[in-house]
């Protein structure tokens, strides 16, 4: 069963625009992580945000976490064609330690 659900499932934007992806989850979490997957490749870790954190930045990435709404968002600013990939949120629940992935958002950035 999927703990996290991303929204939208697919997103197409122009280079230079911002991209926002959302993730909702069902149970209380220890932390939430975002991963990127380029076509035909393995997943690459982007950022981890803990349950007691509300916002985190890494370069052009900004992640927010709202534990009251059980949701997170990933913002990619000034997108580039190289950002084209699928983005997955993954949660580690308080009960248990297994990382559970959502279905992903497919982002296409047009040059």
């Amino acid at each position: 069963s999927q703990q996290g659900e991303e929204d939208p499932q697919a997103l197409s934007i122009q280079e230079g625009e911002n991209a926002t992806m959302n993730c909702s989850y069902k149970t209380s979490i220890n932390n939430l992580q975002w991963y990127r997957q380029n076509s035909g490749r393995g997943l690459v870790h982007l950022i981890l945000i803990r349950s007691n954190e509300r916002e985190k930045h890494s370069g052009r990435l900004r992640v927010t976490l709202d534990t009251s709404k059980k949701s997170s968002s990933l913002l990619i600013t000034a997108s580039r064609a190289a950002d084209t990939a699928s983005y997955f949120c993954a949660t580690v629940p308080n009960a248990g330690n297994m990382l559970t992935f959502g279905g992903g958002t497919r982002l296409m950035v047009k040059p």
Binding site: G40, G42, L99, F101, G103, G104
Partner: protein, 113 residues
Amino acid sequence: NAGVTQTPKFRVLKTGQSMTLLCAQDMNHEYMYWYRQDPGMGLRLIHYSVGEGTTAKGEVPDGYNVSRLKKQNFLLGLESAAPSQTSVYFCASERLRGDNEQFFGPGTRLTVL
């Protein structure tokens, strides 16, 4: 450092055949995982290992077996392949369970005819 490597990259099997997928990591990580990814879906955990000589079932373990004889290697076996096991298989390793990033291999694309 090579990180996490997987062999083979591609494989086609006939129903009923067996095979073993090999995962190796050179980061001295204790925890290792096998996932499968089906089209348009996220990853689902098959089996995992919290250390050399230990394995445990994940979300979708049926039809698979695993072994962790050496800390750096995690093997995934299919004893009698079925078309439902057509998928892309990813191995991952992690330093601290649940609290750190997981490092993924490039994947093995398996087709069962």
